[in-house]
């Protein structure tokens, strides 16, 4: 008894979205472990590509950004700070930032506003959704539970890559309203996703 190391764990923590194994892989990558990077790729590539694609809407560009993001993860793994967030949130932040930087540097606001109203994108037959993304259904349910303005504000910003002033223009509401709806929406999403 005495002197034994306590390693008991009450179970997976942080909800279904937490992926402690990803954090583990990142720490192995930080030591140059290429086997770990293969496993990391298998877990990370799908979510990264999906998020980037939702912002850029162009498969070829998105694949390019995905490769940049994954390479950045490889390069900077030793600097990942678990105290600031899960490995998945680190990765998604890298991906979203890259996608947004690219879209904002390449496209003028006017073109993008037009894009927002344009119809379905056409990569659906090239690329398949990951069926095993259990979170997909849950996230959809939680998004559905928001008010319309909250949902539009959050999804246009995150999936669309729009700034809040662009979102305000698209929705025809004052920027201040969009800011508070984004925060309220995230609070409700956080509670909804955490509770399930």
């Amino acid at each position: 008894m005495a002197g034994s190391e306590q390693a008991h764990w009450p179970g997976p923590a942080g909800g279904p979205g937490a992926d402690p194994e990803l954090a583990l892989l990142v720490s192995r990558i930080a030591r140059g472990d290429q086997r770990a990077y293969e496993q990391f790729y298998d877990r990370a590539a799908g979510p990264v590509l999906g998020l980037v694609l939702s912002v850029l809407r162009d498969l070829a560009q998105s694949e390019e950004v995905m490769q940049e993001v994954l390479l950045e993860a490889w390069r900077t793994a030793s600097r990942y700070d678990p105290a600031r967030g899960s490995a998945m949130s680190w990765l998604m932040m890298l991906a979203h930032r890259r996608a947004v930087d690219r879209v904002r540097s390449e496209q003028r606001a006017a073109e993008r506003e037009q894009r927002a109203t344009s119809a379905q994108v056409d990569y659906d037959d090239v690329i398949e959704a990951v069926e095993s993304a259990l979170d997909r259904e849950r996230v959809r349910r939680c998004l559905d539970a928001l008010t319309e303005l909250q949902r539009e504000s959050v999804t246009l910003a995150y999936y669309g890559g729009y700034s809040y002033s662009e979102v305000a223009r698209l929705l025809g509401v004052p920027p201040g309203t969009v800011k508070t709806r984004m925060r309220d929406g995230l609070i409700r999403l956080r509670d909804c996703l955490g509770a399930e």
């Binding site: 105290a83 949130s89 956080r190």
Partner: protein, 265 residues
């Protein structure tokens, strides 16, 4: 008077930017303003971090299957790409939109050494805790058994450290040294480290305890010398963290007066 009211209003208005910030949706000036605010608002940092996790869930839910040929390409590129050596912990920042400040955009998140936990970093504790939390450690590469044990342990440590409700407590140790606890109430778990404890005579060691209404539960011997973090799970109401000096092999119950007794409230 009016100044106070105005400041209060500005503050509330700044708070409301947390959502847009976490969604990467702020313009350059707003982002800079909010980051200045973040540096002094622990509440906001916690909120932003929680939002970051929520956004990540939204992102991961969009997962698609990349074309298989991309995999080889990614692995080959990585294999010939030099990695950053360990150094200051970074978090992705973002160049503020529509501005030429990209160079200056080592944003609040990305600025080395200044993070949501500046006190921690200043205390030099985080480095040790996180290095170990980052799992396995080179010393663990001795045998398979050790590796799997250390990996499991690293997962747990990382989970506590990244829990949304993690809090830090510190206390002085009688006789010298300092103890630091990072605790998640929600997970009923904590990570314990101590630094600067006086060396003990051969055959003696520091033993870690949970001391609660139902008695004392041994949590293992502190590693001599190294500030290696220890993980404690299964916290109960009224528990305190204690350290006593015991024979090297450990005792089943404390036999000396604690050099540390730390309430966890």
């Amino acid at each position: 008077m009016a100044g106070f009211r105005r400041r209060g209003r500005d503050r509330a208005e700044l708070h409301s930017l947390a959502g847009a910030y976490a969604l990467n949706a702020l313009s350059g000036p707003d982002q800079a303003r909010f980051e200045r605010h973040l540096a002094g608002c622990e509440q906001c940092r916690l909120e932003v971090r929680g939002f970051g996790e929520t956004a990540a869930r939204l992102g991961a839910a969009q997962a698609v299957r990349p074309r298989p040929e991309l995999r080889d390409q990614a692995l080959r590129t990585a294999a010939r790409t030099r990695q950053l050596p360990p150094g200051p912990r970074l978090w992705p920042g973002r160049a503020p939109s529509g501005s030429a400040r990209a160079g200056a955009a080592a944003s609040w998140w990305g600025r080395p050494g200044r993070g949501p936990w500046p006190r921690l970093l200043a205390a030099g504790v985080a480095a040790a805790v996180l290095a170990a939390a980052a799992v396995a450690g080179v010393t663990a590469l001795r045998d398979e058994h050790r590796i799997s044990q250390d990996q499991a342990r690293g997962n747990e440590l990382a989970a506590v450290l990244s829990a949304p409700d993690v809090v830090m407590l510190t206390a002085k140790v009688t006789g010298g040294g300092k103890a630091t606890v990072l605790m998640s109430h929600h997970m009923r778990a904590l990570v314990f480290t101590a630094a600067g404890l006086p060396p003990l005579p051969a055959g003696k060691g520091y033993e870690l305890w949970l001391i609660g209404p139902s008695g004392s539960r041994p949590q293992g011997m502190l590693p001599a010398g190294a500030a290696r973090p220890m993980m404690i799970a299964g916290l109960a109401d009224g528990d305190q963290v204690g350290v006593t000096v015991e024979p090297r092999a450990g005792s089943a119950q404390p036999t000396t007066r604690p050099v540390l007794l730390m309430p966890l409230e």
